[in-house]
């Protein structure tokens, strides 16, 4: 079993202050000297323990060590003296002193027994190569581990596992030592004798951690290997440790804490990425799309943390196999379920409760995960609004079956439902609700040893409705897709990815159905479309420092008849309507190249340059400024709506500081977006068959610099981010054609997330965020008409809401005394917006103050009340208490 010296140790608050200083300093040094290759090491000790010696070399060189405790006694004392020595000379001396061999794999120095087989010379091509492949799993639960690294001792060869925990390595015939590691798990070393192609699943044991979940392991190896430009991980554990709102962790609030991602406002599930509009983000769960990730208009997220295994957010360099959105894709992979034993998880708080159950169907072969979450708000409003009923629920299900070593099946079902009822009007029940249903059937198959295939049949459906008795307004979007994705591991320095995808879409942009009178409402045309996607990407590692990724994604979008669409003139006046047969009546084709070039400037740092072009054929139609779900509808690209497109360039720099286990990421980007949807003044988007005539099309330009410091390990861990960004729009028929800042144009955005283990069983978490207020239009004058005061707006988005400022805190108390206890339970007390800062979501200019000083619209136009500017905020000081147990 591999061991690692525990040099990271515990970090003090003093170190944290240094982190802040470092953060600011490095912001300016980001693009300074790129390399520290010419290290010179100085160690002068006549008696030093091996443990301390390795730590000193790490501090001076930035290189981490990996070795087996069976091989080296860390407490052994030796004499060691080098002066202005190179790292290589230092390691030569070390190997002589300890009678060991060393090799370097990426940024890690591996100490091992002198090898009999000379596989340290990869350039001398052996006669026979074989492939070892398999899955890396959690030994306890059997869950596959995404992004675990597998490398070969004594070579620079290594790969990461894919989204299903699969790896493949091609090696010369002979004996090798595999090194397998993953954050939060004990690294493993195993000898193999390769005489033929070999399937080798590798279970990893979880690291023994404190009761408080803080990662204690060095994660250097994974850092650069898995670091992708424009992509970020959001670990479910990170989410769980974030202070909660109403007792629930939130995906959107978690995303909001990352650089370049901006939430709409309090209580909102909408978010903006690098200046893009809110509909330019796609959330997928096991590949199936979620169109509305919010519960209760946006206060809660539909993503249940217990169901989540990993979360990857792509802001640029979106992989070719994922699409199609201009700004981001949030790729969520769910837990497979424990293959070895049954587990129960539950959480209870006054507002929301959840229960999950997982376990083997057939031990080691098949497992399931099932969870249910439901709200309980009735007690809040039952006295005030007894006729109201607000509720939401989630149902998640996953099943998988290992047919054999080469075949595995998965099934995922995700249902999220919101229902808000009011039974008080004329005894007639009215309601508003929405529902996301997503499902995936997946077949993983390994052809030979090196071709991994992932065939998926998936669907994503979203329905949004208002009903009154039997009458209802309904809108929906549905998608059914078949996708075959292949990954071919040519050599250890080359990987190809390619695939094909067929998508079918249905759209109902909001029509009314029901009894008698409803037929008088305009008939809203439903729509169908299909899309065929081809993609390919090739990754080529050139030497030890260069990695080139080149690929493309090409799609053919086709609108399908029978249908009726409308033609408009240059003034957006209706000219005529066109009735189509059962045929393709509109086709768009696009070819989107992707390119990424990475250069490892040192063993702990890299610089990346990337370019990508993106297209999007689905658009959310809404002229609302609301943070909430407000009767939006989805429309496809059509004869009147050209696909949205974007070019994005980004340059990033990543640096890992081994001594403090801190990661620094700095990324600059420029994004140019076309066919961006804007709206004519006072656009009518609801129940309007001619809604396309209300749309205007323009451009958007965004650019920015994002900085992030992250410390994953230690008693004190967390991250802090700063983003400077701008997002400017220009639409010929809006704002007199002048450029104006988009709603999401918020130049400065700062956030800090910290976890601190106060005591072995008490974790303190704090999250603070501050950002420039959003733009909005405020009146620059008034006039009177019909005894009403009418606002005048000179320019769109001429004003800003007050700056946003929020601090959340949480205390988590572990109630069981032993980390290994079978029954584990904890109590979390959190406060959202502990400073009770008024974070304004809108400002209005049409209300008076009534007797209770409550702003209200004056219906009597002859009343002589004074109008007041009013502002709204949603959440001040919201405490919650949650009890969670795991059995």
């Amino acid at each position: 079993m591999a061991n690692k010296p525990s040099f990271p140790g515990l970090v003090t608050s003093c170190s944290l202050r240094k982190c802040f200083t470092l953060f600011i300093t490095l912001s300016f040094l980001t693009f300074g000297p790129l390399s520290c290759l010419a290290q010179s090491l100085n160690i002068q000790s006549s008696s030093i323990s091996v443990e301390d010696l390795l730590q000193e070399i790490t501090v001076q060189s930035g290189m981490d060590f990996s070795f087996s405790s069976k091989l080296i006694n860390p407490k052994r004392k030796i004499s060691f003296k080098v002066k202005n020595a190179t790292l290589e000379n230092t390691l030569d001396l070390l190997s002589q002193k300890l009678n060991i061999a060393f090799s370097m794999v990426d940024q890690q120095i591996i100490l091992h027994e002198p090898l009999i087989v000379d596989d340290t010379a990869p350039l001398s091509r052996p006669k026979k190569f074989y492939t070892i492949s398999g899955f890396i799993n959690d030994a306890q639960s059997g869950e596959s581990l995404i992004g675990a690294t597998v490398s070969i001792k004594g070579t620079a060869q290594g790969v990461s596992t894919n989204s299903f925990g699969f790896y493949a390595l091609q090696l010369p015939k002979g004996d090798h030592t595999l090194l397998v590691s993953y954050v939060g798990f004990q690294a493993q070393q195993m000898m193999i004798s390769l005489v033929k192609n070999q399937n080798q699943d590798i279970p990893l044991q979880a690291a023994s951690v404190d009761l408080i979940t803080v990662n204690i392991q060095n994660h250097s190896l994974e850092y650069l290997q898995n670091q992708q430009s424009g992509a970020m991980d959001l670990n479910p554990d990170d989410l769980n440790n974030m202070p909660e709102f109403g007792g629930e962790s939130g995906l959107i609030r978690g995303l909001q804490s990352l650089p370049g991602i901006k939430s709409h406002s309090d209580g909102s599930a909408f978010f903006f990425v690098r200046g893009g509009h809110k509909d330019q983000n796609l959330i997928i769960i096991d590949d199936a799309p979620i169109y509305n990730p919010s519960h209760l208009f946006g206060f809660y997220s539909v993503i249940v943390p217990e169901f989540t295994k990993s979360m990857q957010i792509y802001k640029s360099d979106i992989p070719v196999h994922l699409g199609d959105r201009l700004s981001s894709i949030v790729d969520i992979r769910t837990k497979d379920g424990n293959l070895n034993k049954t587990e129960i998880n539950a959480a209870f708080n006054p507002l929301v409760s959840r229960l999950s159950l997982e376990g083997p169907v057939k031990e080691g072969k098949s497992s399931y995960f099932i969870s249910y979450r439901a709200s309980n708000f009735k007690w809040i409003y039952k006295n005030r609004s007894p006729e109201a009923n607000l509720k939401f629920s989630d149902f998640n299900f996953k099943w998988n079956y290992k047919i054999n070593t080469k075949n595995r099946l998965y099934f995922t079902l995700f249902i999220a439902d919101d229902q808000f009822q009011n039974t008080g009007i004329l005894n007639n029940s009215s309601s508003l609700g929405w529902r996301n249903v997503a499902s995936t059937i997946r077949w993983n198959h390994i052809f030979g040893e090196r071709l991994f295939s992932n065939t998926i049949l998936y669907s994503g459906n979203y329905n949004y409705r208002i009903s009154n008795g039997v009458n209802r307004w309904d809108s929906s979007i549905g998608r059914a897709s078949l996708k075959s994705d292949f990954t071919y591991y040519h050599r250890n320095n080359q990987t190809s990815k390619f695939g094909i995808e067929f998508n079918g879409f249905t759209f109902n942009p909001g029509g009314i159905s029901g009894e008698g009178f409803t037929s008088l409402f305009p008939k809203i045309q439903q729509d169908k479309a299909r899309e065929t996607v081809l993609y390919a990407n090739h990754e080529f590692k050139w030497g030890k420092r260069w990695i080139l990724n080149a690929g493309f994604r090409t799609a053919t979008w086709e609108n399908l008849g029978p249908n009726t669409y409308f033609n408009f003139d240059e003034n957006y006046e209706l000219i005529d309507s066109v009735v189509t047969e059962e045929e393709v009546y509109q086709r768009y084709q696009h070819f989107d190249p992707r390119l990424q070039l990475q250069y490892k400037t040192s063993n702990t740092s890299s610089i990346k340059l990337s370019y990508g072009r993106y297209n999007q054929n689905l658009q959310l139609i809404t002229n609302s400024t609301s943070p909430f779900t407000a009767l939006e509808v989805w429309l496809p690209s059509s004869p009147n709506i050209k696909p949205q497109s974007a070019h994005q360039f980004s340059l990033s720099y990543s640096k890992h500081f081994p001594k403090k286990q801190i990661d620094l990421t700095a990324e600059a980007y420029y994004k140019d977006m076309n066919n961006q949807i804007d709206y004519v003044d006072h656009a009518n988007t609801l129940l309007n068959p001619l809604v396309e005539g209300q749309l205007r099309f323009g451009t958007m330009e965004s650019y920015g610099l994002e900085l992030m410091l992250k410390k994953k390990v230690g008693r004190l861990n967390g991250w802090m981010t700063y983003t400077y960004s701008r997002a400017m729009r220009q639409t010929p028929d809006v704002n007199s054609g002048r450029i104006y800042p988009a709603f999401q144009d918020r130049p400065h955005d700062f956030s800090v997330m910290l976890n601190y283990g106060l005591k072995p069983r008490i974790l303190l978490s704090a999250y603070w965020t501050w950002y420039t207020g959003s733009t909005f239009s405020s009146p620059t004058g008034f006039y009177t008409f019909n005894d009403q005061t009418v606002p005048i707006y000179d320019e769109k988005h001429n004003d800003r809401l007050p700056n946003y400022n929020r601090l959340d805190i949480a205390f988590k108390f572990i109630l069981n005394k032993k980390a290994t206890a079978k029954f584990q339970h904890d109590l979390t007390f959190s406060i959202y917006n502990v400073l009770a800062h008024k974070n304004v979501i809108d400002v209005n200019f049409n209300k008076i103050e009534n007797g209770n000083a409550r702003p209200i619209v004056q219906a009597n136009l002859l009343a002589e009340d004074q109008l007041r500017a009013t502002q709204s905020d949603l959440l001040r000081f919201f405490p919650s208490l949650t009890y969670t147990f795991k059995l």
Binding site: L432, N468, H682, Y783, T784
Partner: protein, 272 residues
């Protein structure tokens, strides 16, 4: 009123009060624009009357006074006859025709205003107005007063209309206020912020009040103007607002407001 049922679809959210819990008055630092512009408030009807046009200026402050525009030369023509409007000597900014007259169906009227060496024009024409039903009243919550319970349809595929409800109880009480005015609209469109519109005060009046309902038939352009107006005033202010913007206008050369020509129907009721 068959469309009344439809409006139930649109008014289900007393529960949205929960989302509006933290609204308060604030001292907003207004940006000022290029105000003092001409504002036209002109609705010419098919009723024999001394038709009236009100001219004022735009202003900076939300509770500012609209300065009247005086000394303007105002007229309306139908392409053949030009009818001058004379400024009322005791009501600055109010211009009326000398004798009672009425607009006619099927005619396009042009408004011409000359003021400050600038010529402003606008055109409009009349559409049919349909009869309306009798209103119904009920006791208000305090049981002393009455309230209007049958409001006009919000939506119609047939017509667009404005209902001006003038309520007068000066014959019953000298205590001020003893008048009230409400306006309702019927449009061929339904809007998101109409569905989620902000809470408004309840207009109450004593039993026996005189209620005059004037219904204006609206052509599409005037309806679009009034729809924008109500979106910026009465419907604005909930957490589900639409993006605000200036109202359209049919007044040329930077003028504000609207010139409309409407067929009207008027009836008087007693609140019983």
């Amino acid at each position: 009123m068959k469309f009344r049922q439809a409006t139930l679809l649109l008014s289900i959210f007393g529960l949205l009060i929960i989302l509006q819990a933290c609204e308060e008055a604030t001292d907003w630092d207004y940006q000022t624009g290029d105000n003092g512009k001409l504002v036209v408030e002109a609705i010419i009807t098919n009723q024999q009357d001394r038709q009236e046009i009100k001219l004022s200026r735009s202003f900076d402050d939300i509770n500012g006074l609209a300065d009247p525009v005086t000394g303007a030369i105002v007229s309306i023509n139908n392409g053949q006859i030009n009818v001058p409007f004379i400024e009322e000597s005791n009501s600055p900014g109010i211009y009326r025709i000398a004798q009672a007259g009425a607009a006619q169906m099927g005619t396009t009227y042009e408004l011409v205003i000359e003021w400050n060496d600038q010529r402003y024009t606008a055109t409009s024409s009349m559409v049919q107005v349909f009869p309306f039903g009798n209103p119904s009243f009920a006791s208000a919550d305090d049981s002393i007063n009455m309230k209007l319970v049958s409001t006009p349809d919000l939506y119609s595929t047939i017509e667009q209309a404005m209902y001006e409800i003038d309520i007068d109880w000066s014959a019953i009480s000298n205590e001020l206020p003893n008048t009230a005015k409400q306006i309702f609209y019927t449009f061929k469109t339904i809007d998101v912020n109409e569905v989620f519109k902000s809470q408004a005060t309840k207009v109450k009046f004593p039993r026996g009040s005189r209620v005059i309902i004037t219904k204006y038939g609206l052509n599409d352009d005037f309806a679009a103007y009034l729809r924008a107006l109500v979106m910026e005033t009465e419907w604005q202010g909930s957490p589900f607002d639409e993006a605000p913007s200036s109202l359209p206008t049919n007044i040329s050369d930077g003028g504000l407001g609207y010139f409309g020509v409407c067929a009207i129907r008027r009836d008087t009721f007693l609140a019983e």
